[in-house]
């Protein structure tokens, strides 16, 4: 299991230079503004904003397409089903199937909104190391327990993934092959899962001892912490955040004043 989120986190683009704390405020506002959009007229504007942000980030298109692969199945099902089951105005008759206008517009709205939010999320978390995102969230007052759990889980995710791969390989080498669905197969998978839980539990005790030795639990000056993680003197980041938040507000205002699509 490879966590490839940080693959393009060290490029030098305008999005990479945008401080992660500011970027979180700006792009999360934009994500929520996108979620507000119900008016079809605003979809081209949403796509343009998303395209500009993605182009500026210099993340390869192939990386985005790879990310879209799994969730797109869900969207595909919605795009197929909604025009058939939602709405009352028929626009096309295909044998027994009637394609309805309201459902078709709804399917387009959902797909575009989904694509734009997903792309902005990828730009948000793909243009900075994941640890910087956690640090930025900590500087916004995220509870210590959640920050510690997130950092520790993230640290061991890949190792536990490797452990699972090794154990599955060992099972195969010993002749295990999941033939169909039966009690024995389920039991073997339950024992595999149990073994991973036990190994991680035992490992956590050793990690805790090591953390204590390295000073885990001692207090760090909050003043010092904030100064490092959320540098308000960064004018470039501040300007970028104000621009994106203004765009988000503008989208919401346009959504409120523009006549809705029939």
């Amino acid at each position: 299991m490879k966590l490839i989120l940080d693959r393009y986190a060290y490029l030098d683009s305008p999005l990479h230079r945008w401080q992660q704390g500011y970027k979180l405020i700006g792009l999360l506002s934009l994500i929520f503004a996108f979620a507000v959009i119900q008016n079809i007229w605003l979809l081209p504007l949403m796509v343009i904003i998303t395209w500009v942000l993605f182009s500026l980030s210099e993340i390869p298109v192939g990386f985005l397409i790879k990310r879209l692969r799994y969730p797109s199945w869900f969207i595909f099902a919605v795009v197929i089903l909604l025009p058939l089951i939602s709405g009352t105005t028929p626009i096309l008759q295909l044998g027994y199937l009637t394609i309805k206008q309201e459902g078709s517009w709804q399917a387009i709205l959902i797909s575009v909104r989904f694509f734009c939010i997903l792309t902005v999320s990828l730009v948000l978390f793909g243009t900075a190391p994941f640890l910087n995102s956690i640090k930025a969230m900590r500087s916004f007052g995220m509870p210590r327990v959640i920050v510690d759990m997130t950092l520790l889980s993230y640290r061991y995710l890949e190792e536990l993934g490797e452990m699972l791969t090794t154990m599955q390989r060992a099972m195969k080498l010993r002749g295990f092959k999941a033939r169909g669905f039966n009690r024995r197969t389920l039991k073997v998978f339950a024992q595999l899962t149990g073994s991973i839980l036990i190994r991680s539990y035992e490992r956590s005790s050793r990690i805790y001892q090591a953390m204590i030795l390295r000073g885990y639990g001692s207090q760090i000056s909050k003043k010092k912490q904030k100064k490092i993680e959320f540098d308000q003197s960064d004018r470039y980041s501040l300007r970028a955040t104000i621009t994106v938040v203004t765009m988000a507000i503008l989208l919401i205002v346009l959504e409120a004043i523009l006549p809705s699509f029939p």
């Binding site: 994500i31 929520f32 839980l197």
Partner: protein, 212 residues
């Protein structure tokens, strides 16, 4: 069982975040009462990572395969740590694999996290009876695993179907909910049996994991 970005109205997304904030605050209050919080955080974190990895295991059901959700099992093993653990797991899935999404993170956390807390309370009932404990543990393990998944599936189906389109016919909505619950009902039985097998394995090999 993740609602992707773009499917829900902002009012539902914001309500989801507000509810998640409230439940997280309540769970953190309970965690703060933990006598050994500093030692339990690494344990909960590694188990969170282990559950995340275990949820990637494919259980073959020809001609397809399924991934288990494990929210009931997480509740049974992690107690109040289960809700933050699920929240973190969902955040990882949203940013790493684009399962779920940032705008629907709060809603998804409620869908999967609150049944985990219910499963924790249910699984704790095994301490009520001293006799017939293995039998009671089996029943409660199944109920925690299957019940949590079924509860999550009900919330997921109702939320998704009632919010996806305002023009959807009420009968079509009802049919869609029943069809999806039928599918999830089968998965709930599998998840329940799997939870029984796993809890029985842990009881034999590492009983302190169930009592920690």
């Amino acid at each position: 069982m993740h609602i992707p970005d773009g499917f829900l109205s902002p009012s539902v997304c914001i309500t989801g975040y507000a509810l998640t904030g409230g439940v997280t605050w309540q769970c953190l209050r309970q965690i703060d009462r933990d006598r050994d919080i500093q030692a339990n955080i690494p344990k909960a974190s590694l188990l969170t990572a282990a559950f995340f990895v275990a949820s990637l295991i494919n259980i073959p059901i020809p001609p397809t395969s399924i991934h288990l959700i494990f929210n009931g099992l997480m509740g049974a093993l992690l107690g109040y740590y289960a809700f933050p653990a699920i929240l973190i797991g969902l955040f990882f899935q949203a940013v790493m694999f684009q399962h779920g999404g940032m705008s629907t993170l709060g809603v998804n956390a409620i869908i999967l996290g609150t049944p985990a807390i219910a499963a924790y309370y249910l699984f704790q009932q095994r301490h009520l009876l001293r006799d017939k404990k293995p039998f009671l543990t089996t029943i409660l393990s199944f109920a925690s695993g299957a019940g949590a998944l079924l509860l999550s599936a009900t919330m997921f189906a109702i939320l998704l179907v009632t919010n996806i389109s305002p023009d959807m016919d009420i009968n079509a909505e009802r049919t869609a909910i029943f069809i999806s619950l039928g599918g999830y009902g089968i998965q709930a039985v599998i998840e329940g049996v799997f939870t029984v097998m796993l809890i029985s394995f842990l009881e034999r090999v590492k009983p302190e994991l169930l009592n920690s």
